[in-house]
C-alpha cells in the first residue's frame, strides 16, 4: 500500500544564501532515485513537506517550475527548530521530501488573459514557479505584470534573476522597498500603495497575490478598487501543517484543509469561510 507519510530521499545540489543576515537560503534538490523523479509531476503553487529525520518536517512552496527539469528549488527562512537545522545543510547532504502536495494556481484559466502577480518578501517562492511557467509558455498568455516588494534591497530573493527579468520586454517587473535607501533605482513604497499607483488594468486579467498577512490584508481592497472581480483574485494561504494530506486537522479553516483543499484559493471562495481572512 502506498504510504505518503514516508519521505523520499533528495540530494542537496546547490545552496545560495540570499541575504547578508543569512536568514534566507535557497536549496536546489535533485532526486536520489530515478523512479521518484519520473513520478514527480507538479504545477506552480504546490508545496512539499521537507523532512529532517530526527527533527521534524516543515512545508515549503515549490519555487522551481515544472518546466525546469531535474531539480526542485525551495527558499527557506530560518525561523524555528526545523528551519535552523535545514540551514545547516550543505551541498551533497540528503534531505527527505514528501510531495507534491496541495492544489495549484489555475494556469489553465489564465490562458489567453493577462496575469498580474503581486508578491512580498520571501513569499515570492511559488510566484517564481508561476512566472517561469508562464514565460515557458509565453504565447499562451497576455501581458505579464509583476509587483514585488521587500522591506529593504537585501531581502529580495532570486536577485540575479530579477536583474534578467527587468531587462525582458515581454513582461513588466516593478520592484519596491518600504523606505528610501541610497542607491535604490526602483520604486519606494508599501506594496498596496505601489499597486494602487501602478493601477494594473483588470480588463481580461487575473491577479495572484502572495505575501505576509499584513500585505495581503491591505492589497486586497486595492485590487477590489481596481475592479478585479473576487473570483479572479487568487491567493495562497499558509497555516501550520503536519500531515500535508488533509487528515491531521492542524491546517483546518472552516470546511477546508489548507494542505489539500488549498493552499491556492480565490478571494471569492475565501469570503465564504469566516476564519480565512
Amino acid at each position: 500500500m502506498q504510504n505518503t507519510y514516508i519521505p523520499i530521499p533528495m540530494k542537496v545540489d546547490k545552496v545560495v544564501t540570499e541575504d547578508p543576515e543569512k536568514t534566507l537560503r535557497t536549496y536546489d534538490l535533485s532526486f536520489v532515485k530515478n523512479s521518484d523523479l519520473e513520478q514527480f509531476q507538479y504545477l506552480p503553487g504546490q508545496f512539499c513537506e521537507m523532512s529532517l529525520l530526527g527533527m521534524g518536517e516543515s512545508p515549503f512552496g515549490i519555487a522551481s517550475s515544472p518546466t525546469e527539469e531535474g531539480f526542485l528549488r525551495f527558499t527557506i527562512n530560518r525561523t524555528g527548530l526545523v528551519t535552523n537545522e535545514i540551514h545547516n545543510l550543505r551541498q551533497g547532504d540528503t534531505v527527505g521530501l514528501r510531495g507534491p502536495l496541495g492544489n495549484w494556481y489555475p494556469v489553465e484559466d489564465f490562458k489567453g488573459e493577462n496575469v498580474v502577480i503581486v508578491g512580498g518578501g520571501f513569499a515570492f517562492t511559488t510566484l517564481r514557479s508561476l512566472l517561469i511557467y508562464l514565460l515557458a509558455h509565453r504565447e499562451n498568455y497576455g501581458e505579464i505584470t509583476i509587483i514585488y516588494g521587500a522591506r529593504n534591497p537585501d531581502l529580495f530573493i532570486y536577485k540575479d534573476e530579477l536583474e534578467t527579468w527587468l531587462k525582458r520586454t515581454d513582461m513588466k517587473l516593478h520592484l519596491t522597498i518600504d523606505k528610501p535607501v541610497d542607491g535604490w533605482k526602483h520604486d519606494t513604497g508599501f506594496v498596496p500603495a505601489v499597486t494602487e499607483q501602478l493601477a494594473p488594468s483588470a480588463e481580461k486579467a487575473w491577479v495572484v497575490v502572495c505575501g505576509p498577512p499584513v500585505m495581503i490584508k491591505y492589497t486586497l481592497p486595492v485590487l477590489e478598487k481596481l475592479k478585479f472581480p473576487d473570483d479572479r483574485i487568487i491567493t495562497s494561504l499558509e497555516r501550520r501543517m503536519k500531515c500535508g494530506i488533509g487528515k491531521c486537522g492542524r491546517c483546518n479553516i472552516g470546511s477546508q484543509y489548507v494542505c489539500i483543499d488549498g493552499p491556492v484559493f480565490s478571494l471569492e471562495f475565501l469570503k465564504t469561510i469566516p476564519e480565512a481572512l
Binding site: R240, K247, R250
Partner: protein
Amino acid sequence: MIKIEKSNFVTFIRSLSAEYNLFAPTGEGRQSAFREVKDIKQINSQIQITHNSPKTVFLPQTEILFEFKGDDIQSVQKATKPMFFWGVRSCDARGLNLLDKVMGQSKQRPDDPAFQDPYWKARFDDAIILTLACNEPASTCFCNWTGGNPFSKEAGDLWAVETETAYLIEPISEKGKDFIKKLSGYHTASEKDEQKIKALKKQAESCLQPAVDTKTLKEKLPKIWDDPLWDEVSAKCVNCSACAFICPTCYCFDIQDEGKKGKGKRIRTWDCCMFPIFTKEASGHNPRSLARERVRQRVMHKFNYFWETYGESLCTGCGRCIRVCPVNLDIRDVAKQLLETASAA
C-alpha cells in the same frame, strides 16, 4: 436473522476468537475499553458504553509511523488476523464510518491511494464490526439528537440485539452476509423474537431525552459566528482536550520525531484543536490564540464544517464528553443555547 442462545454464547465467542482477533468491551468504569479477548469471562456485557471508544484500536493514541537509521527508513506494519468487534454501540459504529471517510478515503482526492492512510486501512478495511443495540441508553446518551437511534442498523457489518435468553443477529453489509453464511448450527429467529425486538426498541427510545435536532445547527451556526455567546460558552472550558481524546470521531493528530539525527522514529499521537498552541506558527503568529476561538472551532467542526464537506454530523451523540469533562461542560446545553441564539439572530 439468526438466534444464538445464551447457553451457546461461550462456543460462539470461542470460535470467533479462534478465527479473528476478537475485540469486545472489557474492564470497569474508567478502565472500560475495547480490548482483545480470548475468553467470554473477559467481556463486560453489563456496560452500556465503554469509557474509551473503539477509536483507540483503529487510530491508537500513539503509533510509530516509521523508524529510521541514518537515511534508511523502515515502516513498521505487522500483518495480523482480521479483527472482529463484538458489542459496538451504534454511535460508535457510526463514528468509525465517519473516521473512515477522513482516514481511509479522501474527499478531495478520491481514488488516489496517496491520500489514504495506510495504517488506518490495514486495521479497518478487513475488520468486522458488530453493532449491538442499546437496550438501556444512559442518561448522557443523545444519539437521537444527531440523527441516530439506539437500535440503528445504519453502521457496522452485523447487527445484534440482546434478549433475556439469546442474541439475535442479522447482517448489514456484504461482509456481514459472508460472515453469517459461514456460521452453522444456529436457529433462525422467530416471529415472537421479532415482536420482542419491537418492544425492546420502544423501551430503549423511551429512555432518551426528547430530541433537539442538531441538523439545523448546520445552517444557523454561521449566523452567530461573532456572537458574544461564544465567550459565555467557552468561559468554563480549560482546553484540557479530554472531550476530544474520548470522542469516537475526533481525529486530529500530531506527528513528532523521537530520537535524534541518525537514529529514531517518527510517531503520530492524538492532538486537539483546543490546545492553545495547536495552530501556533513558527513566526509566533497564532490564528486561534483565544479560547473562545478554539471552543468555537470544535463545535463548528462537529455541527457545521463536517456537514459542509460530508453531508453528515461529526457528533454521534455518544455522551462521553459529558461524562469526562472536568468542568461539566455539557454539549447538549451548548447546542440548545446556540440554537436559541441563532434562531433569534
